[in-house]
């Protein structure tokens, strides 16, 4: 653990999510049409937290779901077949809604590309936006986030690990040097 350091602690994550929730409300003028879709596993958790905050702040219930992108990945053939995550759409679907994709870390942009493809098979949203807890740079595709918790300059050799209470027992974002685990 010596060459990993926490770049965000629990209070920082809470503040970042609170700000993103306010930004979503502001940009979508009250989040009336918003559907939050998290990319499993941690993106789905973050989407639920954002949904809770939006409801707390303005009493608007933004439907929350998850969208698994495994079957749409461009690197599936580079390893054994991966277990699937859950795709769960809100009952009213996503047609004509503003979908906010939620992920924990934005890096190459390939995950988001896959999510856009997956979305295409699920319906036709009015608009798609992207929220991420950490943007660590090094994009390989023309993709950017609309809501960012923290911009984190990193080297490609470093790793960013997000821990969340629901899945990992604590809230933290760690930056690890090469070779650290």
């Amino acid at each position: 653990m010596s060459d990993s350091r926490a770049v965000l602690e629990a209070p920082d994550i809470h503040r970042a999510l609170t700000r993103i929730a306010h930004e979503i409300l502001e940009r979508t003028k009250g989040a009336g049409d918003v559907v939050l879709l998290g990319i499993p596993t941690r993106g789905a958790t973050l989407a639920r937290r954002l949904g809770d905050r939006i409801e707390r702040f303005e009493g608007v219930k933004a439907p929350v779901g998850s969208i698994d992108i495994t079957m749409y990945r461009d690197d599936l053939r580079r390893g054994p077949a991966r277990p699937l995550g859950r795709t769960e759409l809100p009952p009213d679907g996503i047609d004509g809604r503003v979908v906010v994709l939620v992920d924990d870390v934005l890096y190459s942009g390939r995950t988001v590309r896959a999510a856009l493809d997956a979305l295409n098979d699920l319906g036709r949203p009015a608009a798609v936006q992207l929220a991420t807890l950490v943007d660590r740079g090094h994009r390989e595709l023309p993709i950017r986030a609309d809501y960012v918790g923290k911009n984190l300059p990193t080297a490609k050799s470093e790793k960013v690990k997000v821990y969340l209470e629901e899945t990992d027992g604590r809230d933290a974002v760690l930056l690890m040097k090469e070779g650290a685990r």
């Binding site: 749409y72 599936l76 053939r77 077949a81 699937l84 995550g85 699920l122």
Partner: protein, 305 residues
């Protein structure tokens, strides 16, 4: 997972659970308006059917197409096989066409094992003689798990022509792996000699077993394989081993009835039992496509060694 799926006995518990969990997620695809995933784009799946089987072939075909694989159907009738081509030459032809997976149905037990030594792609056993039919066992386990919640410690009774049934053997092996307790019920003439070495119980008295069963799976009486007098008459078989209304009433209230199909209504199963709300016969067909998608994805979705 292994590269091939030939016997349900080759599946470790983790493999079997991975297939069932994958199918659980894929089941949602069948509920959406676009029932297609791009995952196996550019992969070729050959359905090599030496025996008639409409439902299994269609099920594999639908599964492969929902994953965007290219499907080639090869049936023995009207093909080079009827002109005398050997299994090996057929296999080499498919190999030359670049098949990534071969789904084989053959009347000879063990044919998929031979095939696997000749082709580079994955071999999926879709039923070989009286030996095995692993995807049927997987879809049965999947159907049971969806209805009952879990399989650990569940009591499954399989009734009927076990001797000629590849479904029974695959189910016994897989259900044992998944922690269920299987009892086979059949006339002594319709049980294989080796049944003593199978991981299950054997009974000749259906009425005694029914009240303790969570699942009752009826097997088809395979008239086309009945080349000897295995029982005195169809009527007597039906009376002793058929699931009629009175026997159905002896089952626990939440127990389910299964049948791999095609069924002989009035023979091994009464029509009103087959059509009851506790029968999974129709959902078994839908689950068949889902489970075959899961198998094809896990065999072909990743890197092919």
């Amino acid at each position: 997972m292994n590269r091939h799926l030939i016997s349900a006995g080759d599946l470790a518990k983790d493999d079997a659970l991975l297939i069932l969990d994958t199918a659980e997620e894929l089941a949602r695809v069948s509920e959406r308006s676009i029932k297609k995933l791009p995952t196996l784009r550019g992969r070729t799946v050959v359905n090599l059917f030496f025996e008639d089987s409409t439902r299994t072939r269609i099920s594999f075909e639908a599964a492969a197409k929902r994953l965007s694989a290219d499907v080639i159907n090869f049936s023995a009738k009207g093909s080079s096989v009827s002109k005398g081509e050997s299994l090996k030459d057929t296999a080499l032809t498919l190999e030359a066409m670049g098949a990534d997976a071969v789904v084989i149905r053959h009347s000879a037990s063990g044919a998929p094992y031979r095939l696997a030594t000749w082709v580079h792609g994955s071999v999926v056993n879709a039923g070989d003689g009286t030996h095995e039919h692993p995807t049927q066992a997987l879809l049965d386990a999947f159907s049971m798990r969806r209805r009952l919640g879990g399989l650990e410690g569940r009591k499954v009774t399989i009734v009927g022509d076990v001797l000629h049934s590849r479904v029974a053997r695959s189910n016994v092996l897989l259900l044992h792996t998944l922690g269920a307790e299987v009892t086979l019920v059949a006339p002594p003439t319709l049980l294989p000699v080796s049944v003593g070495s199978w991981p299950c119980e054997v009974s000749y008295d259906l009425d005694a077993v029914l009240p303790k069963s969570d699942v009752v799976m009826m097997l088809r009486v395979q008239k086309e394989r009945m080349n000897a007098a295995y029982f005195p008459s169809e009527r007597e078989y039906s009376r002793r081993y058929g699931l009629d209304r009175d026997r159905f009433a002896k089952m626990p209230d939440d127990a389910i009835v299964m049948h791999p199909g095609p069924m002989n209504r009035g023979m091994e199963i009464a029509a009103e039992v087959a059509d009851s709300a506790r029968s999974t016969i129709v959902e078994q067909v839908a689950n068949g496509v889902t489970i075959r998608m899961a198998v094809l994805y896990l065999l072909l979705g990743g890197e092919i060694a």
